[in-house]
């Protein structure tokens, strides 16, 4: 059997991006110096073109149906659609936030690498095959190594890139080891498959042997590194601090986007056979991650180090949704854990990239804005950028009516909902999880609001040499544009959260449509559900 032609057709946006990235890198070798501005426009346009290709190719499909299509290596479903949009948007903001001075010299390589890692996140977002999942994750990691090296050439920068490189390779080894066990159990690399075709999900559901748990633990360890979940978070503070704002933004967002998508597909949806172990593991990791992240962030004075702990804490919140989603797999009731997690991922990513873009736009090319003192009194000296920073910080802290508030609210309510609706043995666990999460949100507010306090209630440094921002767009007008776009989106999602929430919901429903329907539930429900079951049935025809 040859590769399904739809597989290639669905990869249109990725092919556009790879062609653009290759073109930019090759052209950059010949056009040194003046080409950066043009190349940046080409990169931004190619991302927009990829977004257009994504919409043209799939949007009509999603108007008519909710369920996904399956070709083996790829699954085309609403979750992949949403996460690929997120990756593209993050890629666009990252392209914009390259600073003029420092990044110009290696501008074309940097742009090309950012496009490559966007493709990596997009592949990981809907890969349904272990090999492709791993390659997608690595296509996020490998450009990141090079970007870390391109970012800063001093001692701290080298330490950061070496540390990230070695630990990331270790995590890839964990993931591969776990994936090899899963492959050994199933004898196939497909994670989910229509009925009648062998898949990891079927093999593990049929016979949840200890090997599946070992594979699960190793895969979660590998993905935990991508998410910066707690036992695997050690690299984050040093690496963020040792690099620049742009790389910190990449590290805080792209591996999390890819890692969470893989976690949902491979662990939550792919291993329902060991779902009890999955939710227990995710719950414990979640509690540890958010508590350690938030508590350690409290006494940081370096902005990027603080954001590193903040990104660890947010990984903890993301894992709440994973725990709820895994606990409710196979449950006929609607649960919403995965949807809440994906929603929160979108909200967190936009606010975090925006925050780093705003910090980047403050710099004047020769100096960076690193510590809290550097942003003191910014509300007076540079009110627009201070306002943008404040919007992101409030959103990350979860202050209504910004996007972050709705994200946290959805996550916490799904945890409580699972406690009330799920099996009685789960109740204390999920209630405790919700309580700890609420307590953590309070701790988090403390350090985010401290930065806001520095922005508005401190006097700016007296001498002009200490001023964090110079006049003129040297730090990057484009970076400010990126920050403005992100701030607009944070406000827009906060005030009108319907569309994003609906897509996150559809993402989860699309995943559930691919899972085998519980026989009792289908029999008990009315005619319109039978209709859905029929469509499911037609979906699970093996593709020719």
């Amino acid at each position: 059997m040859l590769t399904d032609p739809r597989t290639i057709a669905w990869l249109g946006p990725e092919i556009v991006l790879i062609a653009a990235a290759t073109g930019i890198v090759v052209a950059g070798a010949f056009l040194r110096g003046s080409a950066f501005a043009t190349m940046r426009i080409i990169a931004a346009v190619s991302i927009l073109a990829a977004g257009a290709a994504l919409r043209v190719g799939e949007a009509n499909h999603w108007m008519t149906t909710e369920t996904g299509e399956w070709t083996g290596p790829l699954v085309c479903d609403p979750l992949g659609f949403l996460v690929r949009h997120l990756a593209l948007f993050a890629g666009l903001l990252l392209t914009l936030m390259l600073s003029r001075g420092a990044d110009e010299r290696d501008g074309t390589e940097t742009l090309g690498l950012i496009l490559f890692l966007t493709v990596g996140a997009m592949i990981a977002a809907r890969a349904n095959e272990l090999v492709l999942v791993f390659l997608g994750l690595e296509l996020v990691s490998i450009p990141t190594y090079a970007l870390l090296y391109l970012g800063r050439n001093d001692r701290d920068g080298s330490e950061a890139s070496a540390k990230y490189f070695f630990l990331s390779i270790l995590s890839s080894a964990f993931f591969l080891y776990g994936a090899s066990f899963l492959y050994g159990i199933a004898g196939t690399t497909w994670i989910t498959a229509p009925e009648g075709i062998a898949s990891i999900r079927d093999a593990v559901s049929r016979d949840p042997q200890p090997f599946a748990m070992l594979g699960l633990a190793l895969v979660v360890a590998g993905l935990g590194f991508k998410l910066a979940a707690v036992p695997f978070h050690f690299y984050a503070p040093d690496v963020y601090q040792g690099t620049n704002h742009r790389n910190a933004a990449i590290l805080a967002v792209m591996p999390k986007v890819a890692g969470l998508a893989v976690l949902i597909r491979l662990v939550v949806m792919g291993l329902p056979g060991v779902r009890n172990e999955v939710w227990q593991l995710a719950l414990v990791l979640s509690v540890l991650t958010m508590t350690v992240g938030n508590v350690c962030a409290l006494w940081q004075t370096d902005l990027r180090r603080m954001m590193a702990y903040s990104s660890i804490a947010h990984a903890g919140y993301l894992l709440i949704g994973i725990a709820v989603g895994a606990a409710a797999v196979g449950d006929p009731l609607p649960y919403g854990g995965v949807a809440a997690s994906v929603y929160y991922l979108c909200v967190y990513s936009v606010a975090t990239i925006g925050l780093f873009a705003a910090l980047q736009s403050l710099g004047d090319g020769s100096r960076r804005v690193d510590s809290l003192d550097h942003v003191a009194g910014l509300g007076v000296t540079d009110p627009w950028k201070a306002a943008a920073l404040a919007v992101f910080l409030f959103s990350l802290a979860g202050i209504p009516p910004l996007a972050g508030f709705w994200g946290k609210l959805t996550l916490f309510t799904t945890a409580i909902g699972q406690a009330l609706r799920g099996e009685s043995s789960m109740t204390p666990w999920f209630l405790g999880l919700a309580l700890i999460a609420v307590a953590n949100a309070t701790i988090a507010a403390a350090y985010y609001l401290r930065v806001v306090g520095y922005l508005y209630f401190r006097t700016p440094p007296a001498t002009s040499a200490d001023l964090p921002s110079q006049s003129g767009p040297a730090g990057g007008l484009a970076a400010f544009l990126a920050a403005f776009l992100a701030a607009f989106l944070v406000l827009a999602i906060g005030l009108h959260q319907g569309p994003l929430a609906e897509w996150a919901d559809r993402g989860e429903r699309g995943l559930r449509a691919l899972e085998p329907p519980p026989a009792a539930a289908v029999r008990a429900t009315g005619p319109q559900h039978a209709d859905i079951a029929d469509r499911r049935g037609s979906l699970r025809e093996p593709p020719e």
Binding site: L11, T22, P73, L135, A146
Partner: protein, 191 residues
């Protein structure tokens, strides 16, 4: 004849390769000289290739030889030789590190053993030995070019994505080499 007849050659070689794999792997962990470590690793990985051959996976065995023993390790040894400085050649491990390592590795070994013994099929009688032939390699080659005869989809797509990886790696390596040269030029000017 009587003595030789009782010894199963397959089993004999399995124990030989298994012992040397584990033994040299232990030696890698025990020794403190980095060149010796690389050498023991070569032997350990070579014995693993032998295990693959015994299992009838001649393609994986050959890859193990070519990629690990042939490529990676030669690269490693050259890397050590070219960058050898006395303080990196020999790595002292403190007692505390030994204890943590033993605890972590020992716990993992116990888990692996428990899991391996929990598989019923492995404690039952061994399946009939399948002789290695060339058809497996043909199938793998076909699958990599997108054709699979046994019903699945081939590995064309992952294969293409790997080529993108290689492009990125080339880019990074090229940059690494270039900055070295630029730094040296700068230091020449200053020096």
């Amino acid at each position: 004849m009587t003595v030789l007849g009782t010894i199963h050659v397959h089993t004999l070689f399995f124990f030989l390769f298994a012992m040397s794999t584990c033994g040299f792997a232990l030696a890698v962990a025990m020794t403190s000289n980095i060149v010796r470590m690389a050498f023991f690793l070569t032997l350990s990985l070579g014995s693993t290739a032998g295990l693959f051959f015994l299992a009838g996976a001649e393609f994986v065995g050959a890859m193990q030889f070519m990629i690990y023993v042939g490529g990676t390790l030669v690269l490693l040894i050259f890397g050590v030789m070219l960058t050898a400085q006395s303080r990196f050649i020999s790595m002292r491990t403190r007692a505390g590190e030994w204890v943590t390592t033993l605890l972590v590795a020992g716990a993992f070994l116990l888990i692996l053993l428990y899991v391996a013994w929990s598989v019923d099929a492995w404690t039952a009688a061994p399946p009939a030995h399948r002789a290695a032939d060339g058809s497996l390699t043909t199938q793998i080659g076909l699958a990599l070019s997108g054709v699979r005869l046994d019903g699945g989809t081939g590995y064309m797509l992952p294969f293409l994505v790997v080529s993108v990886h290689l492009l990125v790696v080339l880019l990074g390596a090229g940059y690494l080499a270039r900055t070295k040269r630029r730094n040296r030029c700068v230091s020449d000017v200053h020096g």
